[in-house]
Every structure is written in structure tokens, then in C-alpha cells.
């Protein structure tokens, strides 16, 4: 348990337990948006710091954390404020490529995916990322206060829009 300084809003007692069970999922959600492990871990830290002083019920923690990770990561993309850091991280990439040509291709692909996600409507992008991070339809629906039926519709539209965005900005052969 983490004890907060006196006079501060206390850090919730179940933070470590929830952190240990949820951290891989939260990092994975952010990584799908950002394509960078380092940046995804930064986002996860930001999200858990906020969560640590929140009163979100433990039973809703996973959904809350996943949604917060998706929004925070998308916000990092859209703000562009850490673009330089991100691209340096991509250059140094945690997924070490076997040769320079592959590394360049990987970096360009990441850039295209990030740009495409940034152009999707926010709701579609969040649903898409959550679903591809392994949340079930029921979990996505509960986290975003949607019906399971509309999750399918939103995922379908998001995937179609993502493909169109990727094709529109595909590198010329």
C-alpha cells in the first residue's frame, strides 16, 4: 500500500493490487495507439496516478483504466506535443528490427497508423483500441456506457475508416 503525505487526498488502499492486475492491460491499450513501449508506460503512469486518488469502484477499475489509457494516449497523439520524443523512441524502438531497412519501414508504418487513428472520430478510435486490446463486447459496452449491439457497429465503422485512412495515405510503390 502507498501512503500519501499528511493533509493530502489519500491514495487508495487497493492501488497496488489493482495496479498489478491491470498494468499490462493499460500499457497494451496505450501501446496500440502510440506504437511505443516507453510512451505507453508513461501514459500508464499518468493514468494510475489519477486513478490512485480517485474513488472509482474496484469492480469498475479495469474498464475505467482502459478507457482513460485510450483517451490519454489518443490525446498525446493529437496534441503533437511529444512528437519528437515519440519518434526518437520509435527510432530506438523496443522491437529491435533485424536490419535498418526494416526499422525504417516499421517506423513509417507506425507513423501512418498513428496519423490514421488521430483522424478517426474519438469514440470510434477508443472503441477500436479497446476491442483490439482484448476487451469483450460486454466490457467495452460497460466501460463506455454503450449497448453491446452498438459496440459491434462502432467497431465495424472504425475498422472500415481505419482501412480507408491507411489506404489514402499509403506509400506509393
Amino acid at each position: 500500500m502507498v501512503s500519501g503525505p499528511p493533509g493530502r487526498k489519500p491514495v487508495r488502499a487497493d492501488l497496488e493490487q489493482i495496479f498489478r492486475s491491470s498494468y499490462p492491460r493499460v500499457v497494451a491499450v496505450a501501446a496500440r495507439v502510440l506504437g511505443s513501449r516507453d510512451e505507453a508506460e508513461d501514459v500508464a503512469q499518468e493514468v494510475f496516478l489519477t486513478f490512485g486518488r480517485s474513488a472509482v469502484p474496484a469492480g469498475e477499475a479495469m474498464g475505467w483504466l482502459s478507457v482513460a489509457a485510450a483517451h490519454t494516449a489518443l490525446n498525446h497523439l493529437r496534441s503533437g506535443r511529444r512528437r519528437a520524443v515519440r519518434e526518437e523512441a520509435a527510432d530506438d524502438g523496443e522491437a529491435v528490427s533485424p536490419d535498418v531497412a526494416d526499422a525504417v519501414v516499421t517506423r513509417d508504418e507506425r507513423r501512418r497508423v498513428r496519423a490514421a487513428l488521430a483522424r478517426l472520430p474519438r469514440r470510434q478510435a477508443v472503441v477500436l483500441v479497446l476491442r483490439h486490446s482484448g476487451l469483450s463486447y460486454a466490457e467495452v459496452a460497460a466501460a463506455l456506457d454503450l449497448s453491446p449491439g452498438s459496440v459491434g457497429t462502432t467497431v465495424r465503422r472504425a475498422e472500415s475508416a481505419l482501412r480507408e485512412e491507411l489506404n489514402r495515405h499509403a506509400p506509393s510503390e
Partner: protein, 357 residues
């Protein structure tokens, strides 16, 4: 039977047991649906490849870092936390009021001795730990609320205009995904009278382990009247659990003193050393005329300057990125555009606004 929806076809790929038997049976024998299913499968495969990011997260390392971050936060300087109004999520329907009352809260909390008229807004940024330790106004004296916060919905723009005497906004072009007609709500004028107490201030400073300098002549017992509003807000919520867009306008906060000059009061407040130094330094930078409304933000990255029709504006983004707002002053009014949209979308709305009398 009707063809199942695209959403049902998509779910069939991931969770076939979540799809009704009748739909599954229909799809199996329907060329149109099978074609749709194949297209969905192709798009899903593209998305899976694009969003692939598999690696093992370092849970122990992450926990160690988080524990350190929690411990490193500065301890409270003051025993009472100032309850700020700020952008946060999940957002409630009165988000627009929160945006505008941020200004009211700021004026009440830190400009409490000014003769104040809002002519401009400037962000004050500091770590969250510093901002939540700012003293409460009641640590310095007594507050009597003379007009309580009272908000209510009204039927339409005409009713909103009539209730507030303010112009209603006309949005040139709604952002993508925002639809329908707006709802309107108003907040009546709020006001309070604050009476400064040298004894109470001394107690508060003593609790922080310091000895206050003597109060300037005339300050003890001085009264200050704080007034803000009314507020007129239009909200677009169609199809969303929280408002997608809120456009609001308020009569800007004003403070009246019973006679103590602004500079005297400000210098005394700062001499108490009860504010975090980085906050105090930013407040010192404001003009001595009492016309700049501080707008507090928890993170350095969460505000940035912009302009709305040549007027300086501040863009705020909530910490988790779910909400953003643009706030600016216009000839004695505080105007705000906020919602679950990107900052550039909100700026576009702000720049295209007309105010219909």
C-alpha cells in the same frame, strides 16, 4: 427476414455466441451477408495488423516507478485543501457551468482582496499537489453567500435570453459527430461578501509554522463583495452520455473592496508565504490593476494560448484527454466552448460563433 446489421456481422467474427441463433442461421445461407462478413473480416485483419503491439509489460518496474511518483509529491503546506473547480472526467451535465465557475472560484480563492474586473484570463499552471494545497478563502475570514448558485434548464434560446439578459450563441458549423438542436440552461448571478479577519489569518499562518507580518492598516474587518454571472449555456447532447458540445457566456467575475487598494492586499497575501512559490510567482506577474483572472490548471501541458477572432484565448485539455475547452473574455463577458471534442474542433466553433441578441 431482414439482414443483420453490420455490427452484428462484426460481432459474429469475434463473439459468435453473442449473436442470436436466427441471425447466425440467416448469415450462413445469405450471399449478401456472407459478402458483408468477408469485408468485415478483411477490415478486421487490417486493423489487427496495424494495432499489433505485443510485449511483456514490466509490472514490478512500473509499480516501483508509480510508488516513487506518489511519494515524491510534495506534502501539504496547509491543513485545508482548496476545492477547485476544474476540467475532469467523467463530466456532468453542468460542465459549462464548471468552466465558467472556474473563474469564479479562482477569483474567490486568490483575488480575494482585489478591486477586480475581469478583462483578461491567464492560466496559472502548477503541479496538482501544489494547487490542491492552496488555502481556502475561509482561512482568511468569513464568507457570506448572498446569492447562491442556482442553475435551471429553460425551454429555448428566447427563454434563456430573457432569463439572463445575455445574447444566445449561434454556432456557424457544428463539428463532425455533433447533431441535433441544443438545450439551454442558465445560472443566475452568484455573489458573496467576504470579511477579512487578521486573527483568523494569523491562526492559519501559524498552523503552517510561520509568523504573519502585521496586516496593513484598514485591512482587518474590510469587506469585499464578489459577483459573477448570470450564465447562459447551450448544450448539444444528442446520442451521447455527456454533452458533446457546450457553448456558454457569462457576465465576468467582479470584486468590490471596502477600500483597501489592490496592490496593498496582494502584497500582504504574498508576504504570508502561504502559496506555493511557483503559483505566487505567476500571480505576482499579473498587472497591479486587478483585471487578470487566474485560471488554474494542474499540468503544464494542459493549457496553451490561442486566439478567437483576434482576442487572446486559453485552450484547456483535461488530464485524460476526454474533454477540452476554450475560454476567453469579450468586453466584460467570459465566453467558453467546451466538450468531448478536440481542441482544434472547439477553436473552430469558437471562431465561428455569433451572439444573437
Amino acid at each position: 427476414m431482414r439482414h443483420p446489421s453490420d455490427g452484428t456481422l462484426r460481432r459474429l467474427l469475434d463473439e459468435p455466441v453473442g449473436v442470436a441463433d436466427a441471425d447466425r442461421e440467416h448469415v450462413a445461407g445469405c450471399p449478401v451477408c456472407l459478402s458483408g462478413l468477408a469485408a468485415a473480416e478483411q477490415d478486421a485483419a487490417v486493423a489487427t495488423a496495424a494495432l499489433n503491439a505485443e510485449f511483456a509489460a514490466d509490472v514490478d518496474g512500473g509499480w516501483s516507478r508509480l510508488s516513487q511518483a506518489v511519494e515524491d509529491r510534495k506534502p501539504a503546506r496547509m491543513p485545508r485543501a482548496w476545492r477547485r473547480t476544474r476540467l475532469r472526467s467523467p463530466v456532468v451535465a453542468i460542465f459549462g457551468v464548471v468552466v465558467l465557475l472556474t473563474g469564479i472560484g479562482a477569483a474567490a480563492a486568490t483575488d480575494w482582496l482585489q478591486i477586480f474586473r475581469t478583462e483578461q484570463i491567464a492560466p496559472v499552471t502548477a503541479p496538482e499537489a501544489d494547487l490542491i494545497t492552496l488555502p481556502d478563502l475561509s482561512d482568511f475570514g468569513a464568507i457570506q453567500v448572498t446569492e447562491k448558485v442556482h442553475s435551471h434548464t429553460v425551454a429555448d434560446a428566447d427563454a434563456a435570453r430573457q432569463a439572463t439578459g445575455l445574447a444566445a450563441p449561434a454556432v456557424g458549423r457544428l463539428p463532425h459527430g455533433v447533431t441535433g438542436r441544443p438545450s439551454y440552461f442558465v445560472v443566475d448571478r452568484v455573489s458573496a461578501v467576504f470579511t477579512f479577519s487578521a486573527a483568523k489569518t494569523a491562526q492559519m499562518v501559524a498552523r503552517a509554522g510561520r509568523t504573519p507580518p502585521p496586516a496593513p492598516p484598514g485591512l482587518d474587518g474590510s469587506k469585499f463583495r464578489l459577483v459573477a454571472g448570470p450564465v447562459l449555456a447551450a448544450t448539444w447532447s444528442a446520442g451521447r452520455p455527456v454533452p458533446a458540445l457546450i457553448v456558454a457566456r457569462a457576465v465576468a467575475p467582479t470584486a468590490y473592496s471596502s477600500g483597501v487598494p489592490y496592490a496593498t492586499a496582494r502584497d500582504y497575501l504574498l508576504s504570508l508565504h502561504v502559496l506555493p512559490e511557483n503559483v505566487a510567482a505567476q500571480l505576482r506577474g499579473f498587472s497591479g490593476e486587478g483585471t487578470t483572472l487566474p485560471l488554474f490548471a494542474t499540468l503544464e501541458q494542459s493549457t496553451h494560448p490561442a486566439d478567437v477572432g483576434g482576442t487572446p484565448a486559453t485552450v484547456l485539455t483535461s488530464r485524460d484527454g476526454t474533454m477540452a475547452g476554450v475560454i476567453w473574455t469579450d468586453d466584460g463577458y467570459v465566453c467558453a466552448v467546451a466538450g468531448s471534442l478536440r481542441p482544434d474542433e472547439l477553436l473552430s466553433v469558437a471562431r465561428g460563433l455569433r451572439w444573437d441578441q
